[in-house]
Point group: D4
């Protein structure tokens, strides 16, 4: 498509309908504009039903509402708003049909799409206090078109709870392993599963958890293969990446 | 298959050819043995030509040689040895047909298999000092059956070198982004590509790089979606994960 | 016991009263269920009068109340609630006969049991600001069935206060040494006593105490034998461990 | 000029109009007073229209108002107030014609001077959350007499936005590169531009950004030449330094 | 006994065979000498067959030899030397019948005593690289009179290896859990066992293990009850503490 | 004196007026009681007019009032209360003639004594934001009987302000150097003065000051001789130590 | 020039001598190639006599020699080699007329150019141990065409040594302030001078200098305006930046 | 004296024997030269028998020898060389009558002076591994004219060893408390003594001692009054400061 534009421009030059000078100007601007199309596959994927994302933290409720409205009126079918405060949800709800999930501080416009991934994304947490991050991850993956299996509160100090779900873990296309405190969940899951595991350290804990640092270091040092790590509390990033992996097969076609 | 074993055991009990007591013993051991098959898909994948891995650090040359010999005589077609010193290579070479790649401290037995992944894994580095980690990643991915495209020395302080390879980046199934110092490469690549990016901070640098901490924190904070991080200098882990993602499509079948 | 179940199952298979297929399913689930009984001794101990524990932080007052009610109606004689806010105490008190100790933020249902340990657990603190953590430790140990001797405000900068209690220290079965700031108490007590010393760094302090890090590192570096450390401010963990040690003799019988 | 004073004093001594004793006293005080003129060039610069600065943090609104009033009545044409709270702005506005820019928490008295630098100072930010620091930098540079070009939200994960402004970057006399999270902006800009780049890490971010530490380390490790770093969130310091560089040419004359 | 001495002194004063002045001097020295008997129980235990300990690091081979010789000739039956270099072992062996275990850098004089503890101490490690620390712990516990069960290389990324030993874990009187890298072993074992677990982080690892810091923080944050932590690589301290707990029952008598 | 008591006791034993048994008991308690007199000189010093100290942080206003009242009624002439909130001051003022200095959060009962030290203690600060810590130091030193010279806002970025007071610095018996941010003041003063310099890092600053860590490390690394450091914001500790040094000469007599 | 190329291409299309398809291909490659000229001014500057730089660390002596030879034969007049070991110097000297300065580990080919900057760059150090970093900075600036004034060993603990050079500091166009330990030099110089000060923390020191961290944090917190910081021990970066600033005036023309 | 010089200069101006211009030049240079006398008292003290100091680390043996020779030939009676390697000692010994103390890496020229302080400086260490730092401190204090009492290996885990020396501690004019590992010695001594305590953390230890950081933080957090801290392993600084305090009384006269 973009090649078509260049071709059209060149043809216009050849045909004399565009001066060399004007073509020079357009081409000088082109390289950077071209890069605006840097993610064609993803864009395509998104246009096929997945969501555009607004990072809500540090934005006023009104800013969020206006961006969301602009996206929808611009043709975007679905919008995902992360780190959305209840106050922002109230403001957006007054203007748009918002589906607000307070636990994960997630706002949804346009509904969750039908899953169209290759399999299932598992979102597992060590404890109940990790649920907000887990919901952010799970809803992000769902908005990107993945089927999500939630395995909450399966921390390693009660191993039987985790092992009772060994089959879900082994069947998954990608797993998001979320844990605070000592973060051992990622290693144990990484040893059980044979798909990519995206580990999310959380800031849950106290004392020597140092705001998630203990879990972060623990996860980075995981001896299990196939484990990688995102930022502390970055549920969205993990859910997005897991959904991306869950769509690798389809993309191949 | 494993169900078949249980079924056979139960049938033997029913038929009286196995005593209840003996069956009890076998079943008590079973659950844990069963977990030994925890990664059937991967095992399958490995049996189809990919390599078994020996982590060479902290092992004597003789230990490495003996483990390698045992694996090969046990039917393993290929063996990958990481963090292998030249001394260990000399010892193993005396006994086995070793292909030793000194730059990445990688030893290969049985040769690199034909690629059978979904596409290409790109391994990109910020500077020439990151090459050892990069070769560890690239050879790991190749031994796991991926085609690897090496983009070395494309650091962000000379952006044109990286942009000159934008097409390879956009075509990749998975990218390993390796950088020391400030680690910005992962973010820039994450912004250009639309496949999973596995970031590897390296200990290359001095002063406030603090042995790779600066690059690690930088990569964890990447604003780009689809980026996750492994341990400092963990080229193998990144190459393995990238190859795993590169085989997601085939697995789907 | 669990062997009996397997034997019964196998006998049923042999006798034809259970199909091989159904037995397969039950056995596949078994290993994980089996692990549910992983702590029989402790469970037994707890059933003999000690408390079930609810970690109150991050739970709403209503959640705490409902869990507590469920435990009690499920036959649990006593319930210990840690990190319980006064607000939660008010809500629980309205429904259940709660004994709330505000200093340690501990709630008790069912009363403190008669001590049935081997001897005495000493809970010692460096300063008066460490009392909340100390009370959490002391009440945890008491709820687990230990007799507790409280030695508060015996910090090492006034050594005579500590030495005046040398006899209690030497007579103890386990000692919980709690200190913020420089955390020297654990080393000094470790040098005086000859029983296990569980050190608890506290976040009491300012400046270079860095939220308890100084005390934590100090305690980890203790030159005295028999000293081990739990997380900053983890009074419950220390009290629980001390009570466990205080019951080692009984368990032996 | 200051030599003139000494000369006058010496002449007074020679002429007998000043006693040796009194001269001794004046000269004993002189060295330190003399150092009060330690920045003659800058003072000159400032007298030619630039601003005196009040650091507003930790001062009461009344203190700020009184200092500002004293400066203006002392002949200072312009005053720049940084880290100024809206409360302080309200108090000062009641007494003086304040131009308050809430985004950057900057108060201006006497207006922004006509630019008299050598060229343009570019202030670039990675994200919209960095705007407060950016405005502090931009207004500081403007009050010091520089023309400022604002390039906001040109973070490296969307490289085309930055490249679209490559020309501004290449034309600048000095660039202030402001970014939180991974701080890669400084390296990328440092690689594109050939003027001094003053990098400002910001505390924007969460988790492993550790209050700006990740961006700080990243920027210190920049591989690009010509990049130096100021304290986290120190927009003023960066803007001031950039303006100083932007006046180097004029000073040469 | 010590009371007997005081009584004898007082009787001597009463009987006039000791002057008041001389008694003053002796009593002034007494309190501190008295504290020399601060650990009577332990001393008793040690006299009943357990070992005196020499910390070998930072001592010359000759110093170690001389201290060992002095201890033996002073009546000590057994001597345990930790952190002993092969060089020191050579020097000591030339003079004394040393049993040197190079893996754990442990020297033994007088042989390992018959176990006289309450049960078994389990020493478990995550990987083979942790063996030196593990042997230091195991031999320390054995020299203190405990029976030791070694479970090596049972890291959490291959959970079945650990679970295959669940029974040993559940039967133990105390467990030393040793792991580098992510240190998850302590949490998983803490969840399986119901005896005190002494966790030892090791400096095994690279990159973000930061010399054992990752494992240390992970273990301190363990969610499992009954887990406490000693210094990085402190195998001796953990083995000593585990043996102390393993003798709690006997002491009770 | 204490020898006299022992002598009296022994004489009583010799004379038969005290039984051997009773003497044993008294002597067993003695060592620890004796240590209660561990600081006789200081106590004497304090009784000669200096103040008893109450650390106000973490105490309720009522606790502070009651302790103060007890001290005064127990014969203490003066009481110094540090880290005292305005709320606590209000409560204490209602009951006692409190002299409250809000800037340093210091409460004084009994007035400041006449200076009786050897010379002058200088309290110097880098900036105006360090004043609360400085006042804590200055008033502590004054309450301990020292004459205090306050040199505020003499930071090293405006060296002439500091040098203008070179004579006070050179004449001092002890100097308290207080600075946040980069903490360079201690080194510069240490180079100018030839008396002990007690450096106090403050938590004043932002960004990479990390709550005073930057100033703390800077001061610990001071190249100047005679400089030592106390905890961040520990004005009291520095003032107390400086006053102690300022009384060394008198003590010698 | 580059516009000329585009114009030529477009003209060729218009004239039919280049097919539209071929032009598309060339233009698609263009943007990135174009960026290869991203630093035209600097390149120009360098061609006018300044040096090309080889970072010697991590390169073999032979690699350095070959790169240097290639640069010289490619027309480069001068080459600067940093972090060059004596071994590398020996190898290069055998082939090329190398001027090796061992103190700064700097190799020079083609000689130092005549200074053509606007004024003088001052390189100041706190102690003699900082000299290697200082020489790296000074020679880098000289090779970039600046006149350098070396003020070595003027640390702040002996202020008079620094003040004796106040005039040089005030006359400088840019100052490189190099210090380890407490790093106070940057602040003091920043307060005296009115030109940009580039601060270089060094790893000189011990204990709490933590490899330069103390000096780094100190310099980042400098209260003086006009101070910015580069990486620990990065003498080259500072010298390069100072020389860049020293040429700002010339560039303006 | 210096006033005399100014007066002479002014008189010369008045009398016409010095031109105004020449006086201007001399006066412009004066202030800085004047500061060269900044430490008259100390210098005087040193001239009265104490030592000049050479910091040996980072200097070649020849440099040390030459500086020492220059000092002696310049009239210095005694020279103290710290951090002196055996190699340097050999070189210096060949030329000068060196008294080398290898344990503390201290070289002495001119002998140790007769003590002329007010009392005794106690140097106490926690363990035998701290001896090198302790000897550096003790010899530094002795070279500065203090009588030193060495209390080595009195760590807090064996409290009786320390308490046996309580009298020495209470009689001291200043105490240097040296300890690695947990650094509790400073707090305990600070609680026993009533003179200034200079705490020296040492890098002795392993694991979580982090090169002395644990001891450093512990000492900074000491609850005992009168304790201040110097850099890790800075025996010289502590000994120098203690000797300075030990001479406060004499100076008063």
């Amino acid at each position: 498509m973009e090649q078509k534009e260049i071709r059209a421009l060149l043809t216009a030059v050849r045909e004399g309908s565009l001066s060399v000078e004007d073509a020079v100007v357009q081409l000088k601007l082109e390289p950077f504009r071209e890069l605006g199309f840097a993610k064609p596959d993803l864009n395509r994927g998104l246009r096929q039903g997945a969501a555009e994302v607004i990072y809500g933290a540090g934005k006023t409720p009104e800013q969020i509402r206006d961006i969301a409205r602009a996206l929808l009126s611009g043709g975007q079918e679905r919008v995902l708003i992360t780190r959305m405060s209840p106050e922002a949800a109230a403001v957006v709800s007054a203007a748009l049909p918002l589906d607000y999930r307070e636990l994960g501080k997630i706002g949804i416009l346009g509904g969750i799409p039908e899953p169209d991934g290759d399999g299932t994304v598992v979102v597992a947490t060590g404890g109940t206090n990790d649920l907000p991050v887990a919901e952010e991850a799970a809803l992000a993956a769902e908005m990107m078109g993945s089927r999500v299996d939630r395995l909450y509160d399966v921390g390693v100090s009660g191993l039987h709870r985790l092992l009772a779900h060994a089959e879900e873990l082994m069947r998954a296309r990608a797993i998001v392993a979320i844990a605070g405190m000592e973060g051992a969940l990622a290693s144990v899951i990484g040893g059980l599963a044979d798909c990519p595991v995206v580990a999310v350290p959380t800031s849950v804990g106290y004392g020597a958890s140092f705001g998630g640092l203990a879990a972060l270091l623990s996860m980075l040092n995981s001896c299990a293969s196939g484990v990688s790590v995102v930022n502390i509390d970055n549920g969205f990033g993990a859910g997005y990446l897991a959904a991306m992996i869950d769509h690798m097969g389809r993309r191949r076609e």
